[in-house]
């Protein structure tokens, strides 16, 4: 049974996020073993007033083949986590 099928998804807490995009870079590495935000499933837009607009695309596979979800591992402020979709 996969994490996705168990109803889990990646969530970015806009209150904690500081806009570094480490999650975006880590995710693109997961997908292609190289760095390119366009290939990432997580996108962060940090506007001029500090507003955070996060998008997690359907291409997110929850890093099933990694030891840990890379976006969660590399977020320096703990803003990225798994959420239970059914609970949201």
């Amino acid at each position: 049974m996969t994490l996705k099928s168990r109803g889990l998804a990646i969530e970015v807490d806009p209150q904690k996020c500081i806009g570094c995009s480490c999650c975006t870079l880590a995710c693109s590495f997961h997908h292609g073993r190289e760095f390119l935000p366009e290939k990432s499933s997580v996108h962060i837009l940090f506007d001029e007033e500090g507003g955070v607009h996060a998008r997690v695309l359907p291409s997110c596979d929850l890093c099933l083949k990694e030891k840990r979800a890379l976006c969660i591992e590399f977020c320096p402020v703990g803003a990225v986590s798994f959420k239970n979709r059914s609970a949201s």
Binding site: I18, G19, C20, S21, C22, L25, A26, S28, F29, G32, R33, E34, F35, L36, P37, E38, K39, L45, F46, D47, E48, E49, G50, E73, F74, P76, V77
Partner: protein, 637 residues
């Protein structure tokens, strides 16, 4: 197809006069590695000795390094090189943000901009496409509005920008480029150079060119270990996360030097300091922020009075706090924010205004010269008014817009005695009279002044001799007032800073501020896994030395700079610290000269002139420089 691991592999050339662009492979520049290194070699080869900084023939070279665009911590820095408007020598600036990464994702490691546009223009670079856009409606706008309008015009909020504000347009000599609204690439007047090219902004967005990694799994594993076992355990990182360099700067209170009242003093009491410590800026803070891919997030967004700004670091609090004797945090933040919006270098702005205030105090200038404005230390409103006058080039502001060197020549009447100039640039620092390596690093800085060449924060940290010996191979640097071993520390730091800049890393979370961070072994390991090359620590240091020596040669070729320009301003020699734990300290010229001898010896430059020698240049692979200097009949030894 060549695998450019860590590189995009291309240099983009943009000619504004002819609206032409072309691309060259990076291959033949790779001995200079990247960032500041390759920028510098391009500058050396592209700009003739007789080109004036504001001529269309001057170039702006933007450079990313191999680490940019990766997950390496604090790898968001962009290097910018050009011929310096203030010193006439090498112009070199650096800013964080997202630009360097976006350049690589768009397919370019370096961008060379030359010529002069016929009308106000901005350049939009997107995945191999370069567009010359009309910018008349942006001209006159501040840096934040310009950034916002470009994103709206291009319908892409993730675009990264380098912009100038009104200061650059009006050719204020210390105008600077601002990256992504809040990151100043200060020093050398690059904002005015951009203004002289009718270039309001450079925008970049990349979606197609990944940064490839030679040994991806090894690179990521090394990053994991580095982040978890070094970065996350660093006290410096923790403090910077709480408040940038400002968090560390005031930890010593009055028991550390401060630049006060045009640097005529270096003691600032706790009763003043307590009003502008980091927490005093918190009421204005909207939220903490970070450069691209940086887990340190040492920045914040603030709202002050009627506008937004980013910052605030220790430099700005010295610039508009202690150096103005202003103790109201809102006034300090407001002056910093104005510089942010107008595109002004805070250091030179502060030095110029503080000098004008001291001239006024000493009755060298009067209300007749200032349109009735009373100039006095401690008055934040006066500082903001002067910043506005400088940018509008109104009255005294028009004179001050030329910087202290020219303004003092124009005003005369003893105002020259109040300056603190090296290579025509103003020192706006602290510790000049008490910390020998710090002062030597600032005075010998190849870009004029400033503590981001050879000056090392380690001199403020009482590093035990066994540690400095083990890590730096330098015996003892504990006592700041001692001249012993300080030349060695400066040379070590210059090489290290060269490495940091050529790779696109940030100096803040590095050995500059914490001896455990980004050691040379860490850097070599990451770089080799990224690029697939096999740099040794010694080779990296050789690259750092090559950059430093090439800048020195550029300064000789273009501005005739040498030993005579490595001497400290009179005030730091003749006027000792008047109070506090460094009371009585000043620079001893005889010891300074001995330290300079040692400094030149370590670099392999000749003692008499402070110029690189033929042997040194050749051993660094810079034979072309020897040839060029010979062509110009410059008698290096």
């Amino acid at each position: 197809m060549t695998n450019y691991y860590g590189y995009a592999g291309k240099i983009l050339f943009v000619d504004l006069s002819r609206k032409k662009t072309w691309v060259e492979s990076i291959d033949r520049y790779l001995p200079f590695v990247g960032g500041r290194g390759i920028n510098l070699w391009l500058l050396f080869n592209l700009v003739g000795r007789n080109v004036e900084p504001l001529d269309p023939e001057n170039v702006l070279v933007l450079g990313a390094g191999p680490m940019n665009g990766t997950l390496a911590p604090a790898s968001g820095r962009l290097s910018i090189e050009f011929k310096n408007l203030i010193t006439g020598g090498v112009g070199s600036a650096n800013c964080g943000g997202r630009f360097s990464a976006e350049m690589k994702y768009a397919g370019y490691d370096h961008i060379v901009i030359q010529g002069r546009a016929a009308h106000p223009t901005y350049i939009m670079i997107q995945d191999g496409q370069v567009h010359f856009r009309e910018a008349s409606d942006l001209w006159g706008r501040d840096t934040w509005t310009t950034d916002r309008m470009i994103k709206e015009k291009e319908a892409d909020p993730q675009i990264s920008t380098l912009t100038i504000g009104p200061a650059g347009e009006k050719l204020v000599k210390y105008a600077c480029i601002i990256g992504d609204r809040g990151r100043a690439a200060a020093y050398g007047g690059n904002g005015a150079i951009m203004g002289s090219k009718n270039l309001k902004a450079i925008a970049v967005r990349g979606k197609s060119a990944p940064v490839r990694v030679a040994r991806p799994d090894a690179f990521m594993e090394r990053l994991r270990v580095f982040r978890e076992q070094v970065f996350e355990k660093s006290t410096a990182v923790r403090i910077h996360r709480e408040g940038g360099t400002l968090g560390i700067y005031f930890l010593g209170g009055e028991n550390r030097p401060h630049g006060v009242k045009n640097l005529r003093e270096e003691f600032w009491s706790n009763s003043s300091i307590q009003n502008v410590t980091r927490d005093k800026f918190d009421p204005f803070m909207i939220r903490r922020h970070s450069c691209f891919g940086c887990p340190v997030y040492c920045l914040a967004i603030y709202r002050v009075k009627d506008f937004l700004c980013e910052g605030i670091q220790a430099n700005s609090v010295r610039a508009f706090g202690s150096n103005m004797d202003v103790t109201r945090a809102e006034d300090v933040l407001h002056a910093h924010g104005l510089c942010n919006q107008y595109g002004l270098d805070t250091d030179q702005t502060s030095a110029t205004i503080a000098w004008a205030i001291e001239c006024f105090e000493k009755e060298i200038i009067s209300p007749k010269d200032t349109d009735g404005l009373i100039l006095r230390f401690g008055d934040g409103n006066c500082v903001s008014q002067l910043i506005n006058k400088i940018v509008r080039r109104e009255g005294l502001g028009d004179i001050l817009a030329q910087g202290v060197d020219e303004a003092s020549q124009r005003i005369g009447r003893g105002s020259e005695e109040l300056t603190g100039l090296v290579k025509k640039a103003s020192i706006m620092e602290q510790g000049m009279r008490s910390h020998r390596a710090w002062a030597l690093g600032i005075v010998t800085s190849t870009r004029g002044v400033g503590h981001l060449r050879g000056a090392s924060v380690l001199e403020f940290q009482k590093i035990p001799p066994e540690i400095s010996q083990k890590v730096l191979q330098i015996e003892d640097i504990v006592n700041p007032t001692s001249y012993q071993n300080k030349a060695a520390l400066v040379v070590w730091q210059e090489r290290y800073k060269g490495i940091i800049d050529m790779l696109g890393l940030c100096i803040i979370p590095s050995m500059w501020a914490d001896i455990t961070l980004y050691t040379l072994d860490d850097i070599a390991g990451l770089l080799n896994d990224l690029t697939g090359k096999s740099y040794s620590v010694k080779e990296l240091q050789g690259c750092g030395e090559k950059i430093q020596t090439l800048e020195r040669a550029f300064n000789l070729l273009h501005a005739g700079l040498g030993r005579a320009h490595d001497m400290p301003p009179k005030k730091f020699v003749e006027t000792p610290v008047h109070e506090g734990i460094f009371k009585g300290e000043s620079i001893d010229l005889e010891k300074w000269n001995q330290m300079l001898d040692e400094y030149y010896d370590l670099h392999g430059w000749d003692r008499e002139n402070g110029w690189p020698t033929k042997n040194t240049l050749s051993s660094l692979g810079l034979e072309e420089v020897v040839f060029r200097l010979a062509e110009e009949e410059i008698p290096i030894r």
